[in-house]
């Protein structure tokens, strides 16, 4: 059975054309899936729908067989415990006035999870490659890559089964980017990862499955290696041909 099922979802704002049209996705437990698209492809809208922040105009999204519905408060609370997100910009996603302990423990507080929060935060920090001794420090004391590690620690501290990442490495320098990709890859062994990015190279390095979005439609999806080796849709072909490569 799929963990997250997107069934024929359409979404649009009242004024204009649809942002997503007939999107269907099947995300199984343990999958590492990359949603790739350029500006206007609808990838961020799809992510909002997956978080349950917005409801589709038609079609449905279900988690473990139950449809996401903001009116079903009890289920949404349980869902929020299972799903966490990492954002693009580690400079704006961490509260500058809070300590690392307070930032990383935030999901534990808001989800009212019992236990020794300090201990759980220290374990999360270790699993993202940070020293547990940084608990009392503030975001400005860290580099971009370290901040993104703190954001990832916050996302995994409550033990989610699904991790969403929205352009989570796009704001990072190349040498930092590769290390965060390696960290996410390592974490994806124990949870499902949905990684949204415009960068097909990063998705290729991280995700076993890939979904290519163009103007609100899925043009191609499947096993990453297969699609990269033999892209069928003209848009996927153009996207791949556009990626600059190192000289041979």
């Amino acid at each position: 059975m799929s963990l997250l099922k997107v069934d024929n979802v359409t979404f649009g704002y009242s004024s204009g054309k649809s942002v997503l049209a007939g999107v269907s996705l099947d995300i199984g437990p343990g999958d590492t899936i990359g949603l790739v698209g350029e500006s206007g492809s609808g990838k961020s809208t799809l992510l909002r729908l997956l978080l349950g922040l917005t409801r589709p105009n038609s079609g449905s999204i279900s988690f473990n067989g139950t449809a996401l519905d903001p009116r079903n408060a009890q289920f949404m609370r349980a869902y929020r415990r299972q799903v966490q997100i990492v954002f693009q910009d580690p400079y704006s996603s961490l509260d500058p006035r809070q300590t690392v302990l307070s930032i990383v423990a935030e999901p534990l507080r808001s989800l009212k999870i019992a236990g020794d929060h300090r201990q759980m935060v220290m374990e999360a920090l270790v699993s993202v490659g940070l020293e547990p001794t940084i608990l009392g420090r503030y975001p400005h004391e860290f580099s971009g890559g370290q901040r993104q590690r703190i954001a990832i620690a916050r996302a995994i501290v409550a033990g989610p089964s699904l991790l969403l990442a929205d352009e989570a490495v796009s704001a990072l320098d190349l040498s930092t980017r590769i290390r965060i990709v390696e960290l996410l890859k390592q974490l994806s062994a124990s949870m499902t990862l949905v990684f949204v990015s415009h960068d097909i190279g990063v998705v290729a390095a991280l995700c076993e499955k890939i979904v290519i979005l163009e103007q609100g439609r899925i043009v191609e999806s499947g096993d990453t290696k297969t699609i990269l080796a033999n892209p069928q849709h003209p848009y996927t072909q153009r996207l791949l041909a556009s990626v600059p490569r190192m000289p041979a």
């Binding site: 415009h198 153009r238 041909a241 000289p247």
Partner: protein, 269 residues
């Protein structure tokens, strides 16, 4: 042949922070040089220094010669004569580089008019309009008449960057400085803009200083690279040599990271 841009032992300081230290960078007429570095390496500052656009709280030492004239400590009047004719800049984010309240046609007309005046010509309104449309044609903007009447927010990011390139080229500079010109663009648009820049620089026999953190992008457009790290040059040389046999550990880590993403993508389809 003497260098078009000659930066020798350039150091930049604020009150208490060292930003750039002992940077050497030379560009010959028609040469294409890439300046590579990660955030905070000082690559944009180097470009700003070359055109005399440094903030007033930054002190410079060493020497910068652009088209045979000194840049450091030059007066604003002397610098204005150099800017445009000797060097023009295309910035990363075309939306902030363009005036949001001015129609595209007028923004391109301004540098064209100034350049003509500098050459001792006075263009009539009709001549200027024709020159604007010709310039827009050169950067392959579709439907030039419509876009000339549009405001920056009414056109796409790629089209805005074409406008910014048209404005830089309108100055007929000997050196085009492009500071991360495609970083804000989608990858398919980036490919088009790189192709355009490459063609225009060759056709007009301009020199190019291409600033970027993206190694494969740089590899495709320049002959020589200079690698900056924390304000110091760690390595410089022909692009193929530096990328194939990086000597400094830092360059090696950058090249390895770039190759890792390339390898994941597999062969070009």
């Amino acid at each position: 042949m003497s260098a078009l841009l000659d930066i020798k032992q350039l150091s930049l300081h604020t009150e208490n922070v060292r930003l750039l230290y002992g940077v050497d960078l030379t560009i010959a007429p028609g040469e294409r040089v890439g300046l590579i570095g990660e955030s905070g390496s000082g690559k944009s500052l180097t470009a700003m220094a070359a055109t005399g656009l440094l903030p007033t709280n930054i002190r410079a030492s060493g020497s910068i010669t652009l088209a045979g004239r000194p840049v450091i400590d030059a007066s604003e009047h002397q610098l204005n004569l150099l800017r445009g004719t000797a060097a023009a800049v295309v910035f990363q984010e075309p939306l902030t580089a363009l005036d949001p309240l001015m129609r595209i046609g007028r923004q391109i007309a301004e540098p064209l008019r100034r350049r003509a005046a500098r050459d001792g010509q006075r263009l009539s309104g009709t001549e200027l309009d024709a020159a604007v449309l010709a310039m827009m044609g050169d950067v392959a903007l579709p439907d030039p008449e419509r876009i000339a009447r549009a405001y920056p927010h009414e056109i796409s990011g790629g089209q805005r960057q074409r406008v910014a390139i048209a404005m830089a080229l309108a100055c007929k500079p000997s050196l085009l400085i492009a500071d991360e010109p495609t970083t804000a663009l989608d990858v398919t648009t980036q490919a088009e803009i790189l192709c355009l820049l490459d063609r225009l620089v060759r056709e007009r026999n301009m020199a190019l200083l291409f600033i970027s953190h993206d190694l494969p992008v740089v590899a495709g457009i320049v002959d020589r690279v200079v690698v900056l790290r924390q304000g110091e040059v760690v390595e410089a040389g022909p692009v193929h040599q530096v990328f194939a046999h990086p000597q400094h550990a830092y360059t090696q880590s950058l090249v390895a990271a770039a190759h890792a993403f390339d390898t994941a993508l597999g062969a070009v389809p």
